[in-house]
Amino acid sequence: MSSVWSQKDRVAPIVEVRGLSIGFAGANGGKPIVTDFDLTVSPGECVALVGESGSGKSITARSLLNLAGEGARTAAHPFEIMGRDARSFGEADWRKLRGTVTGLVMQDALVSLDPLRTIGQEVAEVISSHRILTDPGAIRDRTLETLGKVGIPNPADRALQYAHQLSGGLRQRALIASAIAADPDLIIADEPTTSLDVTVQAQVLQVLAERIREGAGLLLISHDLAVVAGIADRVIVMRNGRVVDSGPTRDVLTHPRHPYTRQLIAAVPSGQSRGSRLASARFEPGAVDTTALAIVREPLPQRQAAGAVVLEVEGIAKSFTAPKAVGRTKSVVLQDISFDVRAGEVVGIVGESGSGKSTCAKIVLGLLPPDEGEVRLLGEPWSSVAEAGRRRLRRKLQYIPQDALSSFDPRYRVKDIVAENLPGSGSRGARRERIVSLLDLVGLNADYLDRLPRSLSGGQRQRVSIARALAAEPSIIVCDEPVSALDICIQAQVLDLLAELQSRLGTALLFISHDLGVIEHLCDRVLVFQNGRIVEQGATEDVLGRPQHAYTKSLLASVPDIQRGLRADVAAA
């Protein structure tokens, strides 16, 4: 394995930085945003930089390219790149370095590649602008070779396409190709797989791992410890612009020194965390060994047994016809979807992007009529009746969206948002009391009544969204990726809140997520969606513990997992 490299051969490092601090004039009260950061990356080595949003990890990585942003002030001693003192570099020196010594791969190739230029032009740019090759034929050959290297089939055809014409995985590979075309010594990958489905994520990580084997250094930036567990030799955990933990991957992940790192590891939902509070996790002192993490969590309250059927979905199908200009192609989005949800039950829908899970949610919510089949709510017809007929039952079916902020009328304050969903009239005082008790239920106090949602944090907004859904006293709540946009620790709190309220109130949940860990943590039953069909369904332990369908198996195999990542590392060594 590669971590042996740095210890055995003592190769000269590509980058060596000590005591790095980065600040911006006029921002953060003149104080630096990143302080006291050390980093060494050697050839053939992968260093991971892990932290939540706002930890300063991206700015730190970009400072290695002198691209931290306009007005960035960087100081370090030493600050060496390929043995040269970078502190004396002028803009021209940096420009010579970029692309040839350091290559940058960012998140989401759709916006990180120039959408008006072809993949081929984008990959060739680094070669031609550094005059590595000048002959157009040679540049073309190198471009196609690079595209082939990152696993893009038919490079000659793909080179003529634009980013929007490629699938997410191919696009990301093209972005990697554009970063490595001039064979840089160090690849800086900033959340390179964050917007990708798990199966594609695994493939893209493979492409990066291949680069390491070829001798490149990799600085991998991620918010997810599990992603880096399988590939990184060393991990640096950042928080608020400071390093809180660093060392060889195995040590950091099995003996996290800082409480923050511990929480980062323990707050990840999974099968093991079922029935317990994520945010309550802690390490049992002395119980930590090198092979497994001993995490102790407080249990959630007893669940109610499943009751009568609340929601029945019977054989629904949906397809969309593209406009005439595209040739009237009919795309089937959903086909033969049947399931039911009982009172007190949490049913998960898991699937990758384009699997039809959001369309299914829209049909269940009565926002979109199904082409075939029927949805019944509380035993009454739902999808087959007109909106006016549905209105009476509307409050029984509520919704928690992913992006809470955009689901709030920008003119409304917290109290108005919750009040709009309160049933009945009641006196002003009684309503206010009810709103306060709902906010209390989701862990917000009366001080929040007059707050505008824009001034709330992501977690608080999602709490308001939950309070709003509960205000209607629903029988079932559809949750569409409610925690996907949240940082891991906040996600843990919101998941705990949902689980807690669910077991206390017995409200059924239809929980949609792309994250198998979240589903495994929370759901009683799970439906696996692929290409608009349910490929497998059943009790969560059965489906995710003993998957039958090939797709479920591949999905499970692709999910990054700290334990598995570490085991794979051991096996490779």
């Binding site: 040839t100 008006l116 602008s129 554009s178």
Partner: protein, 305 residues
Amino acid sequence: MWSRIISRLLTSLVVAWASVTATFLALHALPGRIQDILAGDVEYPGLREAIAAEWGLDQSLPMQYFEFLSRILRGDFGTSYVLRQPVIEVVGSQLLPTVELALTAGVLAIVIAGLIALLTAGRGRLSRELASFVELVFASTPVFWLGILLLMAFSFNLRWFPVSGAEGWSSLVLPAITLALPTAGLLTQVLREAMEKTLDQPFVTTVRSRGVGEFIIRWRHVLRHALLPAVTLGGWLIGGLLGGAVITEKVFGRPGLGTVTLGAVLTHDVPVVLTVVLLAAFIHVAASTVLDILYVLIDPRLRAQ
């Protein structure tokens, strides 16, 4: 892509037809007899009868409408009763100086706007704020006042350029600058804002990380993105230049459509004003159609749809 272009062309035809129809309807919706409206301030025996015959006013409304449409298709825009000659001759003889002025000013404005935007977008704060202030001042300056100021400075005081007329290039310089500067002010605002928005896009960071120089980034990547919103302004640009030309001609006493139109408005010479306005609308529709098609060609994302 072709279906997109064809549907754009069809839309333009509909818009052109609608403007003709609206003009016809407006004429008939006005209080008073059409004869009186069209005659304007002119009065001589037999005039009303001649107009009634020319416009087919004794026929039914639909027949008049079809007559009107087919006449315009034939290029016959009626007769000016004030000038006593076919409108198309009046307008045709004055078209060239106006087009000359508008075109020169347009090119000048685009060059100025492009240069300033390329040089200042996303650069240091001082140059950016200075540029945005200058843009604001020019975009807020009335064309005619700018003309008056230039006249005072360069014609009366320095005597570099003639005060009026339309002979030779020297008489074109001041009017063209007058018309170009306010247009350039607005165009630069749009272009620079679009460029700065583009410079914030993640792909620019990617391009920088390849070691590409700042000017090349702007020239090769950013400008093309910024052209998209600027192209949508194209129609407005043409309308503004034509309208502005009318005012500029008045300031500098240049012959041209403006002088004709203004005279016609003041003497209620309806056929002439109608023709100029319709002609301007046709030019506008044609030009914005071309620009919209250009838009599709610039952006591959639209081509695919």
